[in-house]
């Protein structure tokens, strides 16, 4: 079922996300990255950071929470979504203790071969309103009646 075009331009209020030391550690371990700046404050300071920093794609955790909110609002289930592309522009590294605020906006909807393609812009800022990063994503929504082959 096509998405109602009137939802284009819809802005979702800023969602808070507090960056914890343990979440950065867990994320770095999950991607197998042993960089010391992700776990050791002193090592991070030697690289000029105020404290432990996160790997670049850590920023997608708050961004994807925004996707979840958007999809819930549009009544689209999880399994129908395919992430088509993702581009992030960074102003600075995500740092432990950051109280991030992520705003999510549905920029564009177009139909391609019976699927809806959504362009979603997410702006991640810190508590002082400083830019952290901007994510531009394309999400494909499969039609509801697609049964899939087999059982």
């Amino acid at each position: 079922m096509p998405i109602d075009p009137s939802v284009v331009g819809r802005n979702y209020p800023p969602q808070p996300y507090e960056v914890s030391r343990e979440k950065i550690r867990e994320f770095a371990e999950a991607i197998g990255d042993r960089r010391r700046s992700y776990v050791d404050t002193q090592a991070a300071r030697e690289r000029g950071h105020p404290d432990v920093v996160a790997p670049p794609t850590f920023a997608l955790i708050p961004v994807m929470r925004g996707f979840d909110m958007l999809m819930a609002d549009l009544g689209i289930e999880f399994a129908r979504i395919v992430h088509v592309d993702e581009r992030i522009t960074y102003s600075r590294a995500v740092t432990v203790g950051d109280r991030l605020q992520t705003t999510t906006r549905l920029d564009k909807v177009r139909q391609v071969a019976g699927n809806d393609l959504l362009t979603v812009r997410s702006e991640v800022r810190d508590e002082q309103g400083g830019d952290v990063c901007v994510s531009l994503a394309t999400l494909l929504v499969r039609p509801e009646d697609e049964g899939g082959s087999g059982d």
Binding site: K23, E26, A30, A43, R65, F78, R87, R92, G148
Partner: protein, 149 residues
Amino acid sequence: MTERGTEPFAVGDVVADQTYWITREHLVRYAGASGDFNPIHWNDRVARAVGLPGVVAHGMLTMALAGRLLTDWAGDPASIIEYGVRFARPVVVPDDDAGVAVRVAATVSEARDDGNVALEITVRVGEQKVLTQARALVRPPVPDGARAE
């Protein structure tokens, strides 16, 4: 953009090339760490029901591994100015101990006047590109500089 012999990075230089292995265990860890619990990344039944050959890796995990190559080369996550990918093909992760090999390589596509370097990243499983249009803009490492990590 003039080609000078003293330029540390030239267009076409392969600056990094690395193979990463993804197993089912990695998917479980990444699901927990990222909060992405989509069952296509851990449940074969659900993955097949949506037309996939089996459980597939989170696109973001593959993107994170290619990101690792970038930060390993540049020396710091803050050196990544822009990073984008297209998730062209799913990375099917077999239910065995070895998992699937993902080969990531980064090639200089532009050495900018401000010192930043644009990279074209190839991400392959076997001969197939799983990420396409994978590009990054990076502040490169200082040549002969201190490698603290």
